[in-house]
Every structure is written in C-alpha cells, then in structure tokens.
C-alpha cells in the first residue's frame, strides 16, 4: 500500500518534470523567435524536451521501487530474524517460513493471534522495519527522480536534440521488450535444468529414463522397503504416448482429415463460410471443459462398454476415455492444418487430374493428399505435440496408476498428470518426489520442442514448395 502511494507520487513528479521541460522548451522557442509572432526554430518540439526530462527523472526512480518491491520483503525478513538471539533462531527453512508467515499475518491484521509466541514478539519489529524500508526506498526514489529531472532540465538548449535522445531510448525499450521472449525461454530452460540436476543427484538419469517402476511416494520410515521411492518413468512416457499419440490421433486424424477434405472439396461454399468460424470457436473451448466431459460422461460410458464386453476389471479412468475426448478436442486443430495444406496445393494440380477424367475422390486420394502430405504430416506432428502436453483432460479423466499396458480399458498415467499430482498438495521442496516433477517437465519440454521444430520446418518447406 505504501509502495503504491510512492509509485503514484513518483509518477506525479515525473508528470511535473515533463511539464517543466516542456515549458522551458516553449520559452526557448519564443526567445529564438526574437519576440516576433512566429515561433523560432529549436531542434526538437517542446513535447520531446518534456518527455526527455520526464524519462531521465522516471527511470532511476522506477528501478528503485521495482527492486524494493521484489527484494524488500526478504531484506526486512532477514533483518528481523537477525534481531533474534542465536538460540531462538529458527532451525530449519520451513520453521523460518512458518514463523515469518505468522509475523506477516499479525502485521497485516489477518491473524488475530499467533501460535508461536516468538511471532508476537517479532511483529512490532517487523512492522517497524517494513515501514522504515518503505520510507527509505520512497525517499531514495524521489531523490533520484529530482536529481535526474534536474540534470535533464539543465541540458535543454534550443539546439539540444531531445527528439533523437528520446527516440534512441524508445528504441532501447522496444529492444528490451523483445528480449523478454528470450528471457522467458531461458527462464524455462534454466529452472527445468536446475531442478532436474538436483533430482538427478538423487536418482540416476538412467534409472529415470529406462526404469519400469514408478512409485514416487516418500516412505514413512527410513528402513521401509523402497524407502527412496521408484522413479522409472517409462510407464509415464508410455501412458503419454498411448493416450496422446495413439488413441487421440486414431480419433483425430481420420475425423480431422476427412472433415477437411469434405470442407475443402465437396462442401457448399456457404456451409464452409459458416463452419470455419464455428471450428475456430470450438478450438477456444477450455480444456477443463473437455476434462469434465471426459470424467463425468465419457468415462462411465467406456466402462460400461468394457463391462459389456466381459472385462470385469475395467477401470473407470480408462486410457480410452481420456484419449477419445482428447482426440475430439484436437479434431478442429488437425482439420484446420489439413485444410491449410490442401488449399495450398495449386488448383492446376486438381484441374489436371479432373481433366484426365478422374473423379473427385480419385483426385483427392491420388493427387491432392500425396501433394499435401508434408503439410498434413507437419500438422499432425503439431497436434501430437499439443496432445502430449495437454494437462487438464488427463488430470481429470486418466488415472494415477503407472501401468505399462496396451489395454485401452485399463488405467494409465501420463507425464502431465504426474507433474500436477506431484506438485499439488503438501510439498517439501527438496524431496526427490517434488523434484522429479521438474525432470518430467524437462522431458516434456524437450519432446514437444523437437516435435515443434521438426513440424514447423516440414510445414515451412512445404509452403515454400508451392509459393
């Protein structure tokens, strides 16, 4: 709250700096005109001078406030904990976090009373340190703002190239915004790799990538059998591929491809004009909706079907239910990729075949689809990458049992299901169980990355071939 006030203050002051810079430029323009009615020539327009001054004032102040906003809490916490005598210092990071939580609760008033008497003692200290820190940061920000503004103001001259300066800074800002994409990618890669390395210090990568046993439960007693859990992820990889790349694709490829063929080659253009936006709307249905449908409606149907087939042990969270619904979800995607690929085939190719006396289906099967095949394959690979990274459907409809089975009516689990299962609920951040989620995430990231890069290259090459 105090920080918000400081931010508003800083923005207000920057506004003043803008007005001051502008006013000075206006005066310079008047002076340059030599008292005449026409404005004289100054290099940049007054607006640029104003923006220049405001920029110089605002940038350092904002940096200070941002830094304090991100780091302030920790600095205050460290300071407060340090006031405790060594004997009362919290022993573990968990204790420390719990204590600080209580202290913060007391300070904000969310917590009427703390369990830990230490917290009651620390609360006033914390409140004071926090207030001090905020005050200090605010003061520093305002001071830097004034200094920056004053310096900028003093540099204004009629021939000062304010516009060029401002524009150079704008370009820098544009560049920085673009770099965010790289930073995000690096952030993802680094956090995945960093946590995975910690995991692989506990479990060997070979066991993780080739082991057939997955049971990440942490043991209650250290001498329990399998106390360290089993982290062989092959059943997970299989489950992911079984649901996402086999069952879902067995549904999505024929339905998507045939719909695309029908829409591009046979359907009335009016129908096509209607159906395309509808398909786009369907692609926007949240996956949690499909998940709910899979769990509540499709899974019981699949189970009764299996029981009717004579399978007594049919699972209520079968691979088939999740895969079926995922396939339906992917149909609009496959259809639109196939649509693009088919429409990219030159019309001359189609005409050539029709002029030979081929029927439309012969043309499609023998000329259009073979010609569009790279594009279609690329689209299917992108669809597979989507399916294996899809989370909500499998979390809601697939099971948690890591079975290595090809029976679609039994339960399998997937990489994404396990990531969610491992990272929700109580977590100790250093346990192999929690860290294994990041190793799974790394595998998922690498798998989808390879699929995407390859698929995009295929599609791009295909488009270029017909352009």
């Amino acid at each position: 709250m105090r920080l918000l006030i400081a931010l508003i203050l800083v923005l207000g002051l920057a506004g003043l700096a803008y007005l001051a810079g502008r006013a000075r430029a206006d005066r310079m323009a008047l002076a340059a005109a030599g008292g005449g009615s026409r404005l004289g020539t100054i290099h940049s327009r007054p607006v640029h001078h104003g923006v220049y001054v405001a920029m110089l004032a605002l940038a350092p102040a904002l940096l200070v406030l941002l830094g304090w906003g991100v780091l302030g809490d920790r600095m205050v916490a460290g300071q407060v904990i340090a006031t405790l005598p060594a004997a009362e210092q919290p022993a573990t990071p968990n204790d420390r976090a719990a204590l600080l939580n209580e202290v913060r609760g007391l300070v904000s008033g969310d917590l009427p009373k703390a369990f830990n008497p230490l917290a009651e003692r620390l609360a006033p200290v914390y409140a004071a340190a926090d207030a001090n820190g905020d005050l200090l940061a605010g003061a520093l920000a305002v001071a830097l703002l004034c200094a920056g503004g004053a310096w900028g103001y003093s540099r204004l001259r009629p021939d000062f190239r304010a516009r060029n300066r401002v524009e150079r800074h704008v370009r820098t800002i544009l560049l920085l915004t673009s770099v965010v994409a790289i930073l995000t990618t690096f952030g993802i890669v680094l956090s995945l790799i960093f946590e995975s390395i910690r995991f692989f210090q506990m479990v060997s990568p070979v066991e993780f990538l080739t082991g057939l046993q997955w049971s990440p439960q942490t043991a209650l007693r250290a001498d329990q059998v399998g106390a360290s859990g089993a982290f062989g992820a092959v059943p997970l990889f299989w489950g992911t591929i079984f649901i996402g790349a086999i069952i879902a694709m067995a549904v999505a490829i024929p339905l998507g491809l045939m719909s695309a063929i029908y829409l591009t080659q046979y359907a009335d253009p009016r129908l096509r004009r209607w159906l395309k936006p509808v398909l786009e709307l369907l692609a926007g249905v949240p996956t949690v909706v499909y998940g709910f449908f899979a769990a509540l409606t499709v899974a019981p149907l699949v189970r009764s079907f299996a029981v009717a087939l004579g399978m007594t042990d049919a699972s209520s969270d079968s691979a088939l239910a999740a895969g079926l619904v995922m396939g339906i979800m992917i149909v609009p995607f496959v259809s639109s990729m196939a649509d693009d690929a088919l429409t990219a085939v030159p019309g001359a190719m189609r005409d050539g075949s029709l002029a030979m006396g081929a029927t439309m289906s012969e043309t499609v099967k023998k000329v259009m689809v073979p010609a569009a095949l790279p594009g279609i394959i690329g689209g299917v690979l992108l669809a597979v990458s989507r399916a294996i990274g899809e989370t909500m459907i499998v979390v809601m409809a697939a099971g948690l049992a890591a079975n290595l089975t090809a029976n679609p009516f039994s339960s399998v689990t997937t990489v994404t299901t396990q990531i969610v299962a491992l990272l929700t609920g109580d977590q100790e951040f250093d346990s192999a169980k929690t860290l294994s989620a990041f190793a799974l995430g790394l595998v998922l990231f690498v798998m989808t990355l390879i699929l995407n890069i390859y698929a995009l290259a295929v599609v791009k090459k295909y488009r270029e071939a017909y352009e």
């Binding site: 995000t184 709307l281 996956t287 949690v288 998940g291 339906i328 439309m360 979390v395 809601m396 995407n452």
Partner: protein, 437 residues
Amino acid sequence: MSAPAVPLAERLQERGPTDWTAPEMQARIARRYRGERNFRRLGMLALIVAASFLAFLLFTIVRDGWTGFQRSEARLEVTFDAAVLGVDPAAVRGPDGAALLARADYPGLLLKAAEQLGPASDTLSDAAWLELRDALLADPALLGKQASLWVPVRSGIDLLAKGKYDLSAPADSRGVSDEEVADWRWLDGQGRLRTGFNMAFLTGADSTEPELAGIGGAALGSLLTLLITIAIAFPLGVLSAVWLEEFAPRGRLADLIELSINNLAAVPSIIFGLLGLAFFLNIAGLPRSAPLVGGITLALMIMPVIVIAARVAIKAVPPSIRDAALGIGASPIQVVFHHVLPLALPGIMTGTIIGIARALGETAPLLLIGMRAFVTDVPEGITAPATVLPMQVFLWSDDVQRGFVEKTSAAILVLLVILIAMNSLAIYLRNRFERRW
C-alpha cells in the same frame, strides 16, 4: 507420324480407340462412381461424427447446468424476536444499532423459526440465517415483527425439487435417503417450496455446501488475473512486434528472439506453471495462489500469441504509408506510432483478444502455482489468495457431493458464454477489417 516406328508402339496402335460402351468399361465406371459416392459420404460422416460429439458435450453440459442457476427455497414465517436475537431493542435504535444488529444471533433465530417446519426442520441450508440477517439489516423496523421469508434449503432437497433423482430406483442405489425424500414431499405438500433464480451463484464465492457455492469469487479472481496479464502481455507483445518488424537489424539477436517466440507459442502450458513455481514463487518469493503470479505466468504464455498476431498486422500495413510519412520528414519512431500502429490496431486487437480468451480458459499452469485455493470470500487484492473460473470448474468437478455437478456445468456455461463472446468479437474484428488494402 514422324517418330521412328517401334514395334511396341505399333502394337498399341493396332488396339484402336477405346470402346467406352463395352460392358466391362461401363461396369468399371459404375464402380468408380460408387467409390466416389462412398468417399463423399465418408467425409460427411466424419464431419457429422465430430459435430455430434461436440453437440453431445454441449447438450450434457446445458442439461446438467441450467438448473445450477436456480435454487430451491423454503418459506419460513420468522418472528424477529429481540430476545432470541440477543439484542436490546433500545440499543438498536442508538448510534451503533446497525453494528449491533449485524452481530445478533441469527443462527439461533433460524433454529427457532425452523421448528414450524416440523419433520423437515433440518432441511434448511446452513447459511439460511444469512437471509434473516440481510432481511433485518435491510429493514431494521422488522425487529419484533413477523415476516415471511424464502430461505435456501439443503442441496439434497434442492436436487429432489429439481427432479435430479430417479425415485423409481431402489432406495440403496438412488443416492438419496428415504428421510430426505419424505422431508421433500412434506415441504412440497405444504406449498412451502419454490424454485427461484440463484443470484448467490453469480455473486457468491466458493463454499463446501453446493447450495451456497457461487462463482463470483472465481470470476473476480479471473478478472484480477487477466488485468495483470493484459497489463504485461499487451505492451510487451506489441512493442516486441514493433521492434522485430520495424527496427530489428537482421542478425543473430533477431533470429534468436524469433526462434524463442515461435517455440514459446508451442510450449505446453503446464511448463509455464513449472516456470512460475520455480522462478516466481521459489526464487522471487512472490505470494502463492495470488492473481499477481497467475497473471504474470499467463502473460508470458500469451505474449507469443500477441507478438505473432501483431507482426502479421504490422506487416500488412503497406510500405507506401511508411514512405509517405518518412517523405515528409517524420522520424521512424513517429512513423510507427503515428501511422503504422493505428492502422495495424484491428489485427493486433484480434490477436490480443484470442490470447486473453486463451488465458481465461487456462487451468494447468495455475494449478502449479497454487491458484486452487479454497477461497470463501471474494479476493481482496492481487496478492491475496484467489482462484479463477476454470479452476473453480476443476475444483467442483472433483467434489464428491452430487449438488456440485450442476454447479460445475453452470460455471462451464458462464465460462463458455464469455469465451464465445470474446472469440466472436475477435472473428468479427478480423472479418470486418481484414482486406483494407
């Protein structure tokens, strides 16, 4: 024929022209036409199968969900007895009267009033006393008087009233006790039951009781999260697109950025959740379950969508406009901000709306940063624990209580209506402004 005669070709020439009327030729053509018809039917079948599957999905959700917007209420004659409420009528008229009334013992009053329901006295919802409080706070003059109020009933009775149970099934498999059925019959027979619009569902927050649970809290959580997402992703996305299209020198940096954006656009959403957990929560120490972290995570996720759409839109602005502006002495920055961006805006908005719609429907990354908090009140700010609409759907779908099925479906309906509206707007914008040059 000038080509050298070859026995092979000559033999062929002796075959003469093809006899199209020969029966085998006719049969062959008939066969080919059959194949053509079957293929065409197959295509239509695929379309129909996919469409009917989706229609079935929508049908089940509407069927289960529309009753979620209603709730059953029982009529109760309530005497606002000051003694039962434990307030002093004189003090209520004083300056602190409202505060005093707000703290009165309404559960006690409800318990007393429920006696008139006889055998069905335990059918009222746990939070029915809130209705009594609201009635009295709205009209303090009611104190000491009797009023007829409609209060919510328990989920079991609610579902019975909506006909959600198959009462012809044997008692042990129909999912509702005989006692509840008897209570419901009694209430219904007395004419004390009605079904009304469930405003609390739209305005209220989550609850452990289905009849009290609402999506208001989650909707506000979604709104806060999306505001953060837009505030970050829109400027970042548009400005990076401007840099990439207008200023980026061809080189390794631009290639790297482009590669990053293309790949980020295809990274599974759950990976962004891992980033949020590892970086924003554990390293940066931002609060768990908060719209702030959810918003930042989703912003990083949809930024590539906005960048890609904005680049296409910027590219579509013809170079002649840039040349014209540069020709009268505008600087490149002025050209971009005065001419190119305004012209590209419809395309940029289309991409942004699609991105935001995606963020609104996203659940997986938010699961990992703990936005599955059970929050019984509307979130207080961007750092307070909150949940979002799709997460509410997920949480309710996991609940074993039968009353949550209709709530889940109803929440999905609300979510779908918002999403369809957003996507339709995007499609409309695109078609409206598509070919301008």
